[in-house]
Amino acid sequence: MIRFENVHKSFGKHEVLKGIDAEVDKGQVMCLIGASGSGKSTMLRCVNGLEDYQSGRISIDGETVDAHSSSIHAIRTRVAMVFQRFNLFPHMTALQNVMEGPIHVLGENRDEVRARAEEHLRRVGLAEKMDFYPTALSGGQQQRVAIARALAMRPDAILLDEPTSALDPEMVGEVLSVLRDLAQERMTMLIVTHEIQFAREVADGVIFLDQGRIAEHGSAEAVLSKPTHPRTQDFLRRVTHPV
């Protein structure tokens, strides 16, 4: 459903994506790993047009993603995003954050949206925190609100950029467990993560990105347990046995 065909992306003279070919199927969880600066965030951000790309093609169910076309707004309502630093709207409560998109972008009925938003917040374990402002919530709680905000759009897929790396260690688990549930329900997800154990458990596929190229691509088992590329081996050694 999310398809990259020979995608090239540069920031000025600096080429960051050097011909990406990949596909995330419906109901699949794809994990994107790679060293800092390898282009993981950029690859993700091209999917919902937060960045543009120079050549090749990214498509969602066959529809081309073009950051400069007005069709991008509709695409963004179908592909939600969860950020490393949550980016909740600070002037809105948790519930208002979740309701914002469905009401003010999709134009849905307020009462229905509220019921659904409450349900989403309950599911991520925040029934008690609906009327709290983001600053009154822990990082883990904020990220779960952000996931509920993404789900409230009833997206076809969710992009997650290192959803746990801004969290204190004791809060990583609560966010990963929400993501595990989503994976179980066959939510299509493209996740940038350094949580190798988590990737092993939930990922249908893993992409290892190295300096803007896909160095290795395959099942979680193949890439994470029997990596063939020396760069992947080296990277996995470093993230699983930090010095």
Binding site: N48, G49, L50, R76, M81, N87, F89, H91, R149
Partner: protein, 218 residues
């Protein structure tokens, strides 16, 4: 000369009518300047060159002209071009034009200080630029811009005395006339200064209160 207390009583009514004129000029030009300032700020942060460049040039142009010259121009030159304004109207327009630049820059600063992540979050749920500005960016930008906006307000109140040069009968003008007819400069201008302080000090206190409250709310 009559005793001080009697003189104060004698001058006060005239100065108070001037005070009300000052309040009227200030409030009207504040509303206009804020609206116009918001327009400049939105144009400049629109991401469209066709909007941001004109706004930048207008602001730079207006900021380069002394307020007195702006006032003279509107009051004395505009009638020759067919736009006849009363001194009061010309004063309000001149102040508003000049202050729209300062206030516009204040708003722009607020808009630019809003975390980039907010814009990305708004975009990522499919929001278009206008709605994103209205619902996500501006509410946060106003909060950030409030302290400097408060300063703009106090400056505007004080600069409203400039419109006395085109004979608007506000506080400074009334003081000047009263002083030249009574030669009692010390009493008159002390009273004028005190009356300005009656406006600026409460305004400062109010701004501090609002800031504290806003700071506590986030």
């Amino acid at each position: 000369m009559s005793p001080l207390f009697e003189r104060i009583q004698e001058y006060l009514p005239l100065l108070v009518t001037g005070l009300w004129q000052t309040v009227a000029v200030t409030l009207l030009s504040l509303v206009l300047a804020s609206a116009l300032g918001l327009v400049w700020a939105l144009m400049r942060s629109s991401g469209t060159r066709w909007l941001s460049l004109p706004a930048r040039y207008i602001v730079e142009f207006l900021r380069g002209i002394p307020i007195l010259v702006v006032l003279f121009y509107i009051y004395f030159v505009m009638p020759e071009l067919g736009l006849d304004l009363t001194a009061f109207q010309a004063g309000v327009v001149g102040l508003a034009l000049t202050y729209s630049c300062y206030i516009g820059e204040t708003f722009r600063g607020g808009i630019e200080a809003v975390d980039r992540g907010q814009v990305e979050a708004a975009k990522s749920i499919g929001m278009r630029h206008g709605k994103m500005m209205r619902r996500i960016v501006l509410p946060q930008a106003f909060r950030i811009a409030l302290p400097p906006y408060g300063n703009n307000m106090v400056m505007l109140l004080k600069d409203s005395s400039q419109v006395s040069v085109i004979s608007v009968a506000e506080l400074t003008m009334q003081g000047k006339m009263l002083a030249s007819s009574t030669f009692d400069n010390m009493t008159v201008f002390t009273m004028v200064a005190a009356l300005y302080l009656c406006l600026t000090i409460p305004l400062n206190i109010l701004m501090r209160r609002v800031e504290l409250k806003m700071g506590a709310a986030t």
